[in-house]
């Protein structure tokens, strides 16, 4: 009888241990206890040590972009622009890309990152996909102009890197663009 009680108590403790191991690990613990009615107003006997809810990760600083380096190729490498919700190249863009291709042929050690951007309208995540398309369009055309695909790295910023932050068409049209960044020289 006595042994049975001991076993019962041990089982109880073990099961509780299991329960509380999982919940005591939770951050920001508040110790909780069930009260049955009636109860005496006892003074607090146990004080739990509090931890914080969110521990920010230690993140080492890194620069946001490689730099807004534009290269003098007679003209500068300006961004190329797109129509709303489109990733097809405009005629102006083909001209810019031809100059870029010529300059890349003259500077064979240079690699370029093509950064596709969108205006703020529409879903952020769908715009990430659209930015991929815009970067891919420029890459495809440069490859067509005999630039090695290994030298071209497309990347999408979606609507996360606006060059203009007003909610106007003139601003949106500046944000629907591919930027070109030199990644190695």
């Amino acid at each position: 009888m006595k042994a049975a009680k001991v076993i019962l108590a041990l089982a109880l403790v073990a099961s509780l241990m299991f329960t509380f191991t999982s919940c005591t690990c939770k951050p920001g613990d508040i110790e909780e206890e069930k009260i049955s009615q009636p109860t005496t107003m006892s003074t607090p006997s146990a004080i739990s040590q509090q931890s914080e809810i969110v521990k920010p990760a230690v993140v080492t600083a890194s620069v946001l972009t490689v730099g807004n380096r534009t290269v003098d190729i007679g003209d500068k490498i300006y961004p190329i622009y797109f129509d709303f919700d489109k990733s097809e190249l405009l005629n102006d863009s083909r001209e810019t890309l031809s100059k870029l291709a010529q300059w890349m042929k003259n500077n064979p050690s240079v690699d370029i990152r093509i950064e596709g951007n969108c205006d703020e309208r529409g879903s952020n995540e769908y715009n990430l996909a659209l930015g991929e398309n815009r970067a891919a369009s420029a890459k495809k055309y440069l490859v067509y102009l005999s630039i090695s695909p290994e030298r071209l790295e497309p990347m999408s910023y979606g609507e996360e890197k606006p060059s203009c932050s007003e909610s106007t068409e003139s601003c949106w049209s500046k944000n629907r663009r591919d930027d070109f960044t030199i990644t190695s020289k």
Partner: protein, 455 residues
């Protein structure tokens, strides 16, 4: 004295063990007793005319032998009242108790007051709470009473520190909602979101309580950080960061206080969502120069499967609550629409047909509905739909874009962003599109909120 500090501190292992032992002792002492009242559901949640139950919260009393601390008492009561009001289950009665009872009776037990005093003013439920404050140590004892039946529904005592007073009262608010509705409360959940100050290139991640309080900055990498998503247990967060010149997927493990890079496949690794069992993530990744939906292992980042094969763009995947299906956006029809596919791949079907821009689906585990944003008459509005395409319902009728909706952990609320006075703010409403509440008011633009389970 109340002080809410912002410093981050984790308990030392020793303290955890000490606490564990103490908790064990307390619980061992009380577990043998039978529960005072069997669980009883007070509300029929599916009823179309769900009525709010009149509930009174008595002013907090200091526990016997302790001095009054009006500041903590008022703050604590306000947290509790705000939570319960927010839940949409209760009608909070005005504080009329001052003339109902002798003040400072130092006793919460039901022998110490007359239920009729409360039922007469219409309260069907009553919360009494007492506290003791000793330096930073705060103990609060709560009782929830059914005034008509004249008995206690649940009683709890919480011990913590004054800096965690919000968490402590949120915990009991959860208990009240759970006791009355059978649903978990939402009050110890967290919101993660992206924040950017005007004209700043960097976009960092932040978290806050569900009510917008206790905001913390999560990332400090001065890069662009997007699409945060809590694991189901809210102990981990995945997000996409450009800090190494490619949109890679990162994971923060809050229990270990560590951050890992999960995938660095060239191109986007974004919009990740957790499976119900926390073992997998579905996300957008680049295949053949465009975005497709894939599944990777949450532990290693290893690719399990490419889910979609299309020349069109895919975006914003999320799992069904049973893990069997994945909803996502695709423009394979020419415009962005929401589709559902089997989680093993194949067997896809188109979910949305009205309007020509539907995006950002989120699938609730509790009411099996999908919330999304739909461009209606030129403005993005929040809508809900059943996974079989029925019961399409427009939830907002706003004049500026409402975007990136997500469900609260129990499916009773929807969180989303809206531009107000030129700033993207976080707003929350109930699942019927009512009880709209603005959560943030500061000048930082906020994007892509994600709502965790209770912690």
């Amino acid at each position: 004295m109340l002080s809410i500090t912002k410093n981050i501190k984790l308990s030392s292992p020793n303290t955890i063990i000490t606490t564990l032992v103490l908790v064990l002792l307390i619980v061992c002492a009380t577990t043998g007793l039978p529960s005072q009242l069997e669980a009883r559901v007070y509300l029929e949640l599916d009823s179309p005319n769900l009525r709010r139950i009149p509930l009174a919260v008595a002013p907090l009393q200091p526990l016997y032998g302790y001095r009054e601390n009006a500041e903590s008492a008022l703050l604590g009561r306000k947290i509790l009242v705000d939570d319960l009001e927010f839940s949409t289950f209760f009608e909070l009665l005005d504080d009329t108790s001052s003339y109902l009872e002798k003040p400072k009776s130092y006793n919460l037990s039901q022998e110490s007051f007359d239920f009729r005093n409360w039922s007469l003013i219409g309260a069907e439920l009553l919360i009494k709470a007492g506290y003791s404050l000793n330096g930073e140590k705060l103990v609060v004892e709560f009782r929830l009473y059914d005034t008509l039946a004249g008995k206690m529904i649940v009683g709890k005592r919480y011990r913590g520190r004054t800096k965690n007073i919000r968490l402590l009262f949120h915990k009991f608010a959860n208990q009240v909602v759970e006791s009355i509705t059978g649903l978990p409360g939402e009050f110890t959940s967290k919101i993660a979101f992206c924040g950017r100050h005007k004209n700043e290139p960097a976009q960092e991640l932040y978290s806050s309580d569900y009510d917008g309080h206790e905001r913390r900055q999560i990332t400090r990498n001065k890069s662009i950080n997007i699409s945060p998503a809590w694991s189901q247990d809210a102990n981990k967060l995945v997000f996409t960061s450009y800090r190494r010149d490619n949109p890679d997927l990162y994971l923060i493990d809050f229990m270990k206080g560590k951050e890992y890079r999960l995938t660095n496949r060239k191109g986007i690794n974004a919009a990740a969502a957790w499976s119900a069992d926390n073992r997998h993530l579905t996300l957008m990744q680049r295949y053949e120069n465009h975005s497709e939906i894939t599944i990777i292992k949450a532990g290693s980042g290893e690719t399990v499967q490419r889910l979609t094969k299309s020349s069109a763009n895919q975006a914003s995947p999320c799992w069904s609550p049973d893990n069997n299906e994945i909803a996502f956006v695709s423009d394979r029809s020419g415009t962005p629409q929401i589709y559902i596919t089997a989680a093993q791949g194949g067997h896809w079907r188109r979910l949305t047909r009205k309007e020509n821009y539907n995006a950002n689906p989120d699938w609730s585990a509790h009411n099996d509905k999908i919330v999304f944003t739909s461009k209606i008459d030129g403005i993005f509005q929040i809508c809900t739909i059943n996974p079989d395409g029925t019961s399409l319902r427009q939830q907002t009728y706003a004049r500026s874009n409402c975007e990136t909706p997500c469900w609260s952990p129990n499916g009773r609320h929807i969180l989303f962003t809206k531009k107000i006075n030129g700033i993207q703010q976080l707003l929350v409403m109930d699942n019927k599109g009512r009880n709209l509440k603005q959560l943030t008011f500061d000048k930082m633009d906020k994007k892509s909120p994600n709502w965790s389970a209770n912690r």
